[in-house]
Every structure is written in C-alpha cells, then in structure tokens.
Symmetry: C2
Subunit: 435 residues, 2 copies
C-alpha cells in the first residue's frame, strides 16, 4: 500500500523541481494559489516595463516612425515565429493577431473553400466537431456552414471515430476539434486523429487554446492542416491578448490569385495585402501566413503577448516543453491523488482522464450540488479555480509558476470548504456576469 | 489687399484660442511639430498610468476576477458609448472592438444580407464605392462581393451622384464611402449623400476613420445605416487600437433568430452571444450592438483607447466638436494660406478643397517630383507629416494639441526645404517598409 502523501512529500518535489526557477518570471499576488492560468495567465514581471516602453518611447516619442524603427509592422510575424517554436511550426507559418474566434473564421473559411474547389459535386459538405467543444468555435463554424451550404454536425467524443469512416467519412469536409477540452481537460491524440481524418479525405483544424504553452504540440509532425490558439491562457499574454494561427505550408502555397477562383482568406484587410503601402484598389494576398493578417496590429497588445510567450520559451533551456509536460502531469497526478486521498465521501467525481496521454494540464471535478459555490468559497480563501456549467470545478495547472506545495495547500482548502460546509453561505451562491 | 500673415498673427490666434488648454492632456515629444495625428494620434498623459493600473492591479493582482470587478466584460460597450457622443450615436449603438477592417466586414455583411432579404430577385447587387477610398475598405468589400454574388463598382468622386439615380440607382445595394478621404482630405456631405442613396433604395455604410474626433458627425441626424471608425487616429487610442462600429437601431432591431433566415453578423464569436457564459452550442446573437462583438476584448488596448477618447470628450466643456471644427478649419485655412503666400513657384498644388464644407482636418499638397523626399526632409527637421502615393504630401491638423504658431513654423521649414533643395539629398529618397 502506498503511504499517504504529506505536505513534506510535496515540498520534496519542489526542492527537486528543475523548472522551479521559472516562477521568478512572474508577479504573483500574495496569498493566492492560482489554478486559473488556463483561463487567464498571470502577469510576467517583464510585461509592465515593456508595455511602458512601447507607450512612452515607441508611441509617445517616436510616434509614427515606430512602424519602421520599432518594427511594429512585422510584429505579428515576429511573435508568431516565437509561438511556432511551442507548437511544432516553422518560421513563417504562424502569425499573432486578432482573436481566436476571428482566426478560426479565417482558417476554416480557407478549409471550406479548399474542399469546395476539390469537390465541386458537393459530396463533402459536413463539418464535424464535438458538442462539448468551446462554444465560440461552434458559433463560428455554424456561421460559416450557414453561409456556404455546409452542415455542422456535433457529436460526442466517443462518436468522432465513426465520423471518419464509411459514408460519414465520405461526406466529411473538415474535422474541427479542440486539442484539450476546456471543461474536462481531455486531450485528443492529435497525430492519430489527424491521420484518420486525412485517410477519410478530410481536412483538420485544431484549436490549441488549452494546449499552447501547456502540452507539447507538433503540428508539422502531425501533418495537421490548420491551427488556432489563444494568447491569454498558458501563453500569459494578458486579458484579451491577440491570438494566433498556423497554416500548413501546402495550404499557404495555394493561397493567392485575384480571379474568381482565387483562394483567399475572407477577412481580406490591408495588412494581409501583398503591398499594403502601394494603396492599390484590388486585393492581392501577401505570400505565406502574412496573407492571414487583416487590420492594423496592436503594438501594445503584441508587446504584452511577446513577454508572455517569452516566459514559456524560457523553459527551452531547462528541457523545453517535454519538461513542462512532465511537471504538468506530476502536478495534475498529485492533485487527483490528493483529492482521492482527502476528499473521499464528499461527492466529487474526477472528470479528467487519468491516462496521461488523454489529459491536458487541468483537472476538472464534478459535483451534483454546490459546485459553483464551492469554487467561490475557494476563491475567498485565495485558491482561484473556476466553475463551468454544469457542475464542474475546474483547476488549471501551469507548470511555470505552480509549486507542488501549492497543490497540497489548495486541496487542504478544498477539504476545509467541504468539511465546514462554508460553501453553503449565501454569498457564495450569488452569480456574477462572468463565471 | 490682405496684409501678409506673420508669426505674430499666429501667436495672437494662439492667445485667443479657447481650446489651448487641451494641449496639456498630451505627452508631446520635444522639438516636434506633429502633423500626422490623422495616421497615429499622440500619447495622452493619462494613458501610461492607466495602462499600468490595468496591468499591475487589474490583471496582476485581481487576475480573472477583473472580468467582473473591473468591468472588462462590458468595456467594448462602455468605450463605445463614449465614442457615440462624438459621432451622433446614442448609448447602446456603438462598440469598440477589433479593427476597422473587421468591423466593416461585420456591418457590410449585414447590409448585404438585408438587401438579399428584401430583394430576393437579385435586382440590387451592386456595391458602389470610390476608387480612391482607403484600400482596406475596398478589399473587404471585394471579398464580400465575391462571396455573396455582388459587384463592387469603383467610381470617381464626381461620378457618385450618377450611381444614385436611374438604372444605376435601381441596381444599387450599398453605397460605401469614407466620410473624409485619407489622401485628399475631401469630405462628403453625409446627410445629402445618405438621403440620395436612400431615395435610390440603397443602404449606406460610412467609414469615419478620418472623421471621429476631427469633424462633427451626426449619424442619427443623417439617418445613416452603418458606420465604422478608427481608434488610433484622431481618437488617440494608440498604435493598432481597437476600432469602433455603429449600427442604426432599425437594423439592430432586425438582427437575431437562429433559423436559416436569421440575420446575423457573420463573425459570430462568443462575446456577441446572448448568453456567452451558458456555454451552449447554438449561436444566438445578443440584442443590440453587443451582437457585433466577436472574440474576447483586449482590456489593455481598450484602456488606452478610453484615455484617448477622453481627450476628445474633454472638449465638450469648451464648445465640443463645434469648437474643435472651428479651430480645425482655422488651422487648415492658415496652412493653405501660408503655403500660397510663401511657397509660390515651388510646384505645390493644393489637393484639399478650399470650401470648408468639403474639407476634413487635413491639407494635402501635390508635387510632381520629390514629394516623398520633401516629406522625409521635413521629418528630419521635426515636422512630421507623411507621404501618400502618388505625389501627395499629407498634413493632418489635430485641434486638440496643435498651435497656430506650429503651423507657421511648419511652413517655415517647408519653405527652407524647398529653397535649399536639401530634399535632393540621397538619404531622403530611401524608402522604408511603411511610408
């Protein structure tokens, strides 16, 4: 029988943690154990100073000259190249711009246009996704399906495989999945799923919102078609940070032209034009991923995102994403084990797969009653997770700044909240606008 | 005969300027006369501190709670309501979000969908705009026209009227114009043009990129249909600031539904959903202008934009946009008069209409030879304007911080650049990426 885990066990894990120095990169609030980096990453120490420099010097002093002098003009590509290192992309395949939703609109549009071009008879007109995918992805897909005569078919996770074979597979245009599910933390096997979709003749769009900076991703290695991701979660880019997108070179190579059959991403703004400063009336997409830009990029927001991405890239010298992943699994294993050891009989059910390959960097617990209030009671104690309907207590584990002892302390608070029943207090049941 | 203008004339105008106190709102670089606020507005004094507060306290300390506590969740609407005061909108009609290009994509999509719904036989399938409109507007319109079977017809300014009558008027779906032209500074008569387009049975989309904060705009008074505008020019929101959009209530009221005939804006992201935190799979647009949001807003970028908008709203106590307009016209009149008085024989032609009603807040000069280099030589002397192909020297006049004596000094430098011929130096002919 395994001896029970103690706080000393956790402290020993911290003492041996080769990633421990990365915590110093962040300004963390006193007295808070932050298990919500999967919703909004914490503030890097470098960000405030760097943003001040963009505002006071680049904008305030150098003004319009900073488009050249400070390189604002290719900031989306520069930050994109850094993000590429975290997701298995090559330089020139990623841009940081706009929001995740907008980037999905761009890449899914191109995916649908590619299918229409290669399948003019309209046999493939189904987009498959998970019913439990993050809703904004489903909304964007619904919008594009309505516009272009496709059907959005939502299935349960265990029904995906059946969509990739037989008559369903013959009708499949695009498989659109989020790599790590936002509620359950379940992770798809990207390489296998991509290969199966390709075997069915379909394209694959991956949403990396809960993957980039949290779990290893190898987009080129998996031969994926398109990917998008979020800047403000594990990349620590700040609230509403620009998002990113990746496009496989085989699709980048096909974009272009100006005739009726030209393949464009539809958000055809001037920053994606081949020569924006020629100010010519006809749209010609820029070569490569630059053609996926639309409007003028926010230098301030990109500076903050770059600082956040740099905090993850700092792990490269300490083992990179493999080391981040190892610590992530150790943190989530520890949390699950402590919940099992110390919260038995309190009605909590583990929602996240125990198998490492199926797990992202979070643990979700389900409880029939009081899940929202328990989360609020924990927040009042300084343990910040969040609630996701229905009944989910969601805890994100960000290896760059979380300690094993933090996990112990978080579970200690959870035990106390459950044992005292303090979550039944009325104040913990009042719903805010954003949950 | 009018006596020649002197620097003393200008200094006297400054002494009498009731808007002069507004200059103290800005951090202006030493030794620079900035005539490019129509490209990138200057830095408000309040911005750096406010952004620091968003970063260090709202993000760094309060983290995810700031979505409620700091009101990040309705920041686009709050800043939108402030912008509404500058363009003749009512509260609830404007949001600040995304880029100008993206906002045009949203409103033009809805305009085209409205036309398709009211004209199922397809008689009205032409979008008319000016060939000299800012290219990103034309690119977005071209993209939507291709997708939805419309024709984008580009005409010269003096050909617009003919598009609003007869058979051309019968085919007209949408008239899409920029209120003040980015190159020439020419201003359309918004009320008259809108009325003429409506008489033809068409909808009108106005781009206010060079109007908001610079010239009075009364969208409701003109009975316009849709408008978009830029945050980083006269609104001083910083490089790549969020843009804004306005929708007339009669169009807002028609948006909604979830069937095949539902009228949505197509960038249907979760922040435009009726209940984003219910995380339900089907898209239902939020009521009102909130339905035009897409992804997660950038709190940092919106904070900077709000500081910029506040610098324009500060004029409300000093006569508002009418006073701003009066000073703007006085500044541009003075510049044109000084160029006529002091630069005669140097080959400069005025491109901007002399009639006040046809003029925005800029003056553009044309020169056959050396326009680019003359602009660079002026910049080297601290007089910052910009160049726009072909042959345009463009000077923006922002009444919030420019002095009449600055206009004198700018023309003095122009005289010297022309008289010395220093613009012929090779260094002034090297083209940068961004011009």
């Amino acid at each position: 029988m395994t001896p029970p885990i103690t706080r000393d066990t956790c402290a020993a894990l911290d003492a041996a943690d080769t990633l421990a120095p990365l915590r110093d990169q962040f300004d963390l609030p006193e007295g808070v154990i932050y298990l919500d980096g999967n919703s909004l990453g914490v503030l890097p120490r470098a960000t405030a100073g760097r943003v001040q420099d963009v505002i006071r010097r680049e904008w305030g002093q150098d003004l319009i000259q900073s488009w050249n002098k400070a390189g604002w003009i290719d900031y989306p590509q520069r930050v994109g190249d850094k993000i590429a290192r975290l997701v298995g992309g090559q330089p020139g395949e990623v841009i940081a711009a706009d929001s995740t939703s907008l980037n999905l609109y761009k890449v899914l549009s191109v995916a649908l246009a590619s299918v229409r071009a290669s399948d003019p008879d309209g046999r493939r007109r189904v987009i498959v996704s998970e019913r439990d995918n993050f809703p904004t992805d489903l909304y964007i897909a619904e919008s594009l399906a309505r516009q272009h005569g496709f059907t959005l078919r939502l299935v349960e996770t265990d029904e995906i495989a059946a969509q990739l074979t037989g008559t369903a597979g013959d009708a499949l245009a695009v498989l659109m999945l989020t790599h790590v599910n936002y509620r359950t933390g379940r992770q798809h096997a990207m390489a296998d799923v991509t290969a199966a979709a390709h075997a069915a003749g379909a394209l694959v769009v991956w949403d990396l919102a809960h993957s980039a900076g949290a779990v290893p991703v190898d987009l080129n290695g998996c031969d994926a078609d398109f990917a998008i991701g979020c800047g403000y979660k594990y990349l620590n880019g700040g609230p509403g940070s620009p998002a990113f997108l990746w496009v496989h070179p085989r699709h980048l190579a096909r974009l272009g032209g100006d005739g009726k059959d030209a393949l464009w991403q539809p958000l055809a703004g001037w920053m994606g034009h081949a020569a924006p400063f020629e100010f010519t009336p006809g749209y010609r997409p820029a070569a490569g991923v630059t053609g996926f830009l639309c409007g003028t990029p926010s230098a301030i927001a990109l500076a903050a995102l770059e600082c956040g991405v740099d905090t993850v890239l700092a792990a490269e010298a300490l083992g990179g994403m493999a080391a981040v992943r190892a610590k992530s699994l150790a943190l989530t294993d520890l949390f699950s084990a402590l919940v099992a050891q110390r919260c038995a009989g309190h009605g909590l059910t583990l929602q996240t797969p125990t198998e490492p390959a199926l797990r992202g960097s979070q643990v979700s617990l389900y409880r029939d009653e009081g899940a929202y209030a328990i989360v609020q009671a924990l927040i009042a104690r300084g343990v910040v997770g969040d609630y996701r309907a229905p009944g989910i207590l969601r805890f994100g584990f960000t290896p760059l700044y979380l300690r094993f002892a933090d996990v112990w302390d978080a579970v200690e608070h959870l035990v106390q909240v459950l044992q005292t029943g303090e979550w039944r207090e009325e104040r913990f049941h009042q719903r805010a606008a954003v949950t």
